[in-house]
Symmetry: C5
Subunit: 331 residues, 5 copies
């Protein structure tokens, strides 16, 4: 647990306080108190109820990590759940991390089980300058959400790359069908997950940004709207990716079916040429006693010439059907 | 029929009362009366109209079990229908059970034809401690709904497993096509059913949780909101499963069509090599009198060599077309 | 035209009145007058304008039978159009019948060109007991709508059976592809029709059930809500059937394409075994003078053995590829 | 330009006036003036601004013909754009024609570049009887819109026929695949166009019919509602056609893929029978010196018998696989 | 940076002012000041905060170019982001350019990094005549938006052509499958992008056009509505294109699968005729000592006749199956 306290007019944020100081710190409306609880101990966890007197249901929500984003107003504080994202290494998958928190008149509590890069960034900002704290608790919270949402965009850009990559693989046909299908499926699941999370999170940010909660000063609403707009962009892109990914299955299917077409065409042309020649050979392989051609001196060579002629005629036929010698045809 | 009575300030819930006591129990506003009617007898059934004076349409609804979830407000009570779920053994199917009930100022009536695990749990809680009853009838009802909704999540998790399992079967191709299709169809129906039920049930919980009914104290609304949020999660997952299951049909189709492609490719390569060799054999099987090669001492061995050469050339051709010796190709 | 008159407090409904009595009957607010016009004569038809003074547009709507369900409020009466359904014999198709009508303070007019089973049922109820009439015109109308909507459910259940039946046919492959496709198409049209009608009818019932029209007493709204809920169930089922039927086309396609796969596999295995054997036979059918094997005493039998060995090796190869001897494979 | 003037109480509509009379005619509130401008000259066109003083944007809209249906209220008149339809000869395509117009207290202006059948019909009515004009400008406009919308239904019925026809062609397989696909595509475009236009036009009629504009008397709203309902029916049908047409592509695909299945089955059965027989013939065509069967007196006939036996066994095998002699199978 | 100043009543727009004059110019409410900043220098950029005192978030938005269209109201000015489009040369792709801007009581600020054709057009208009400026800042902004939206339509028309072109290519089969698929994919992405942008931009224009912002005079709302309607048309067309493009994949697939069908049919007919003939030849190539036909003087010719007869019979069979000699069949 880290405690940052900024007293109105001070030049710096203080970090010297401990859990025990929180009640007196909160009592002074000139203080802005940020309590960040990362993987809190049981001891630390208790202050949520004993010191802050938060609603037991919200504390329960904070302790587990299977909640969807939401925001709830209570008499003198807001409870919110938002999700951050983290790219999984070497895959286009990503993980979501739950960040629970409370916003009061003069405090922000952030509660999370995993490390958040965005929170680390804000901590650094808070330490470097009192700027972020000077405008009050709601502005501090906005800063945290802003950093958190900014980390979504790389994920979305990554999807764009993944879709392009899979597209290339489909057309180049260098990966096996099933490998491509599994990648598409996995991407589909990831985008579905992103859409599910952002749609809920957008709703949270929309409500924060549109003056529903008096704890957020009207002058700070544009900042929340800004965060909302950034996430909206993420959500819009995720929506359009979904459509594109569904299309990939059709494309892959089209490509496979065209490949089959090419192979069958080859088989057909090949059989179409060899079978008649074999028939000719078969006919002159018959053992009838009276087959005049067999006795002809040049019969064998005429027959070979006949075979060549048949071959040429069939090639011309296939060419006129557009099955061979198409310069634009991919194989 | 089981009757639980909690008198304000008491330490324990009383279970000694019978049907006949209900009118006087209800008359005392300090009493909280919970009447649980499981597969009620005709006798028991009658108290709905004779003692509680519920609207005849609601009683009719309670008696049959083909209703969708709903909640209706009457002058001094609420009537609700919700659905519980139960996994069918050895299948990813599930059954729904209808729970009808009434919420009054100081009573809860639950009416069901089948046993409900969630109700048994609440009964145990009520017997163990008066905690659940101390906050009134609306809190007791919340407890029942909470337990009931909590049993949805295992079902949904089960779907997730089923989808993964089917996916694996599709790629491993160890089950027959039709068996896989039937499983997909059955899963699709189950998810459609879950979505239909949860969407209605969500609406019921939303209305209960948002202060529409004065019978539910404002201080207890967050508890109902909590139940709503849990079911919302179930519903969101069911929604995204639907998309994934529809995708499975495409995947399965893609896999079958790729398998056909592989088989046709094999046939083509095989015929492509054997047919020309057979033609060569056929040619030298002709019975022309004048075929110089036949008399050559090494003609036979040269011909065998020719066949080998043709084979090698064709293999090279197929390899350059990318049809054989692809290290990444699945078969 | 049948006229039923119930006077407040009477024990029975009177059926002795004729068209001429209607004006005086209506003048008495203690009378409840139900005029049922089935395939009315031109004479009868006239009373709509001459006696009841209904809006000419509504009368025009009543006369033709191509209207969608709707309800419209006028100064002192409601005009409504609802649709009943009737199963077509030996098909999963159904017909809709238009029922037009008016609801006034003390009268109900029903106007239809075809016979309605539901109206016959209500007539029987009205004759048997004055119960239905005692609560006024709006309750009588509710009764008619209730019976009418109740006849939708068998249709919907029938769809369920049809879908299951088609599914079985698809998997059993006992019907031809086109026959199955035509059945799916026909079912699809029927469900689309049902959805179109119920969605409009639901809207009519919703407006009747939610207190929009003062002609319907508040105490009777629950009864209308009940009718609405029943139709809602029909509509929900129709919605989910639509999804299932669309899925059937995919399934059918999957099954056909798998069947093709099976057939191609057979062809490939068969050719794969026979072609090499034929090549061997062809080689030893060549007429070279110097072919040492031909002179070997056991050459023929060794060759037959070679053919057997090739066959066994190929069978093993196909078995390892998973193309034959799969116990789970359907053919 | 045609000018129809009806003076209150008159028995007939006057057609003797010219452009110059319009200002004085409008000045008299007892006059109803209908100015119909079909392909107006530049001179005529000017009166929109010089006499009527319409907003310049509306005049600009009227002059071009690429606008979507809309209605806009100005201080003392309405501007509307609606679309009529016209079937293209010998195709299931249709053209839309734009009708612009203005409705004032005592005037209607209709402005169009093409001839409208519906307007000609209303002109005839106006000349025959003053009935249409007696109820004022808003009723006259309703009459025009009613006739215009009535001409949509034949188009929609035509779609129904076209869909049925294409369906039949698909199953009968008498037209080439590409011809059918092009018809489906063309129909799809037509229905998309119809839906786009009707959805906007419905919105226009909805606003006209629901009392948004005080220029339309409340007593005439039911007439506008009637027009709205008719177009609604068109729109509903177009919606359901869209679904059916999309389904046609799937059906066509299913039929083609089934046809391929049939052909491949034929090839397989044929090869499956001929290849083994050819192998047998090949074996006894080998030139080994020691082949005992060749010397047997009945060897040839036994071999022919063997071939027959193989054929019969294979036919039985294919029959048991369900590939041949299926009475219900379409080919 | 270009500065246009129009003083009320003046005959011409003045362009002689520099950055330094802006504060005094703005102070006079009779001035209309248009500041167009194209790819502004750092110096110029500063006036947004130092002179106009715009909200820092809006300035930040203006500086980067990854924002979606939006409009935000501040105390005495509006901030808006809209997108213009530009066709990419030789492709059906297009680029979007972001235009940020501010509208105040007597000023318009436009801020963009790329050149805008629409802004150049308005500059020319402003220089030629004071007409555009006479009606105030809101009318000037409308003029800019109008020109900007007018450039969308050529893009949309271009899509229409592209879809038609791809359709033709699919049916003519002159381009390779993959080339066509890549074009469809690319078109799909472009339309998705257009839909995403126009839907947001429509919302901006809707809010501007419906009196939400008092900075826009009511008399000028119809002009904004006009711009909105034009973009609505673009958006509607983009919507319907999306459907058509998705259909193209199905069509392409249908065409490929039909092509496969044709090829397989050819193979089948060809094999179906040659294989039996080869069998006959094979039979008479057997070396049995006792084969009576071989000794028949005309055996050879009878056999050739038999082959011909078999060929004719098979051709008749295939013709009756509808596989050959169909005049309407495309190949």
């Amino acid at each position: 647990m880290e405690i940052f306290v900024y007293q109105k007019g001070a030049h710096q944020v203080e970090e010297v306080f401990t859990m025990e100081n929180i009640p007196e710190l909160l009592a002074n409306p000139d203080n802005l108190v940020w309590v960040d609880m990362e993987a809190p101990t049981v001891e630390e966890d208790k202050i949520l109820s004993s010191v802050f007197h938060f609603h037991p249901l919200t504390i329960e929500d904070a302790r587990v990590t299977r909640n969807a984003p939401k925001v709830e107003a209570f008499a003198d504080y807001l409870f919110f759940i938002v999700h951050g994202v983290k790219l999984e290494t070497n895959s286009f998958n990503f993980l979501t991390k739950e960040l629970d928190g409370y916003l009061g008149k003069n405090f922000v509590v952030t509660y999370h089980h995993e490390n958040f890069r965005s929170i680390d960034v804000v901590k650094r900002q808070v330490r470097n300058s009192s700027f972020v704290c000077r405008r009050g608790a709601d502005y501090l919270l906005h800063q945290i959400l802003d950093e958190l949402v900014d980390l979504y965009l790389p994920i979305v850009d990554d999807f764009d790359n993944s879709i392009n990559e899979i597209e290339e693989r489909i057309f180049s046909q260098q990966r096996s069908n099933n490998a491509v299908l599994e990648e598409i499926l996995s991407l589909k699941r990831s985008v579905a997950r992103l859409r599910r999370i952002t749609s809920k999170q957008l709703n949270v940010l929309y409500r924060l940004a549109h003056g529903e909660f008096p704890l957020i000063e009207e002058a700070h609403l544009p900042f929340y709207r800004d965060v909302h707009d950034h996430l909206q962009r993420v959500s819009d892109l995720a929506d359009s990716y979904r459509d594109l990914i569904t299309g990939l299955l059709d494309i892959q299917f089209n490509v496979v079916s065209n490949r089959t077409n090419e192979i069958v065409k080859f088989l057909t042309i090949f059989s179409g040429i060899i079978l008649p020649l074999s028939l000719i050979a078969g006919i002159y392989g018959m053992n009838f006693e009276n087959m005049p051609e067999l006795k002809s001196h040049n019969g064998y060579f005429i027959t070979l010439g006949l075979m060549l002629a048949v071959t040429v005629l069939l090639l011309i036929y296939f060419w006129r059907k557009g099955w061979i010698f198409q310069k634009d045809e991919d194989e």
